[in-house]
Symmetry: C2
Subunit: 202 residues, 2 copies
Amino acid sequence: MDTQSSRRQATRTKLYEAAVTLIAEQGFSATTVDEIAERAGVAKGTVYYNFKSKTELFEELLRHGVGLLTESLRSAADETAARGGTRVEALDAMIRAGLVFIDRYPAFTQLYVAELWRTNRAWQSTLLVVRQEAVAVVETVLREGVAGGELSDEIDIPLTAAALVGMVLVAALDWQAFQRERSIDDVHAALSRLLHGRVSGR
Amino acid sequence: MDTQSSRRQATRTKLYEAAVTLIAEQGFSATTVDEIAERAGVAKGTVYYNFKSKTELFEELLRHGVGLLTESLRSAADETAARGGTRVEALDAMIRAGLVFIDRYPAFTQLYVAELWRTNRAWQSTLLVVRQEAVAVVETVLREGVAGGELSDEIDIPLTAAALVGMVLVAALDWQAFQRERSIDDVHAALSRLLHGRVSGR
DNA sequence: GTTTTTGAACTGACTGGTCAGTGCAAAGGA
DNA sequence: TCCTTTGCACTGACCAGTCAGTTCAAAAAC
């Protein structure tokens, strides 16, 4: 990477960081380009030198963030498999990876959830693609678990994957928003218990 | 109820219905008061005759919608208790009630999720109150289950409640957005299986 | 029973302000 | 020399909220 493109990359990163917190707090439309530029410590013109439009900046931000998440889920699953863990252990490791991600990038997560189920928005198709990549990682592990007899073959793979993702997402956002004092281990333990069906019975 | 106030109520209801779908699709800031008025078939002035501001219209909409949900969860729990069901059965009934609600008011649910974890917004405090009412219903049933020995006393009640709500919310929104063809029974069965820990094992 | 009055509900043109995006000359950096 | 960034003025569209005026059902007056 030459110095020019890395300089440019640094500017883009500053813009992502500024945009992600502002948009998470206020929403896309309520956040102005002037605000983003100011928080990034950059001139407004620079925003338009680096991105075609406010919408394009946002779409690239989405792609970038979900890319990180997908990567992190995938590597949690792979590492578990590499050291000979079961698929349920892999799911558990992915839950933890999800929590770590949300802990590190809470603003991105907020923004993602806020936009995911909207219809009729410019970036709808971007979002659909990017969501599918992340969910697919979970579905793959479920499918392998069923194939290997470790998971019941009666489970509904897409629905169960969505439910697991939702469980982690919502518990983690609640943790961040309303019970900051809890440790990541507490949250992980509670979710792990649900995954393993150790809720009912004593 | 006299004709005047029922006429007024009808206008407010039309405005709620118009606002909820538009805001679910586009978000609060991207939705204009002119659009809301137009879709409701009233003049813009009428919006301001009935509500102090765009924000107030939205806050009342939130209160109204979450009120319906809370009511519906509570009555599912109560009916189960009335016919002598267990607490786990009550949770199962509440999952179904949640799904029925989301099926009936998908737009409201979208909008609620999109706004819930935002910080620094005008209606933040309204939302906090209203969320707590709904989550409390789930927490109560969990607490009763633990007290009666039906649920493990090691579960973390607030986190488990949040995780269950998240599971239902996300699975249902995914169902609505990406797999409309599935029946409510399919979705319920998948979530019920997770609740009962019938995922791993064959 | 008919006319008049009242006032709540509603209307829609208008205002003041905001904001995305542009244009451009000059500066800084490799 | 070329790429990147700055600073800033400007435009045109858009939008929340206002307000003077209209409608009309029901109460009051006769």
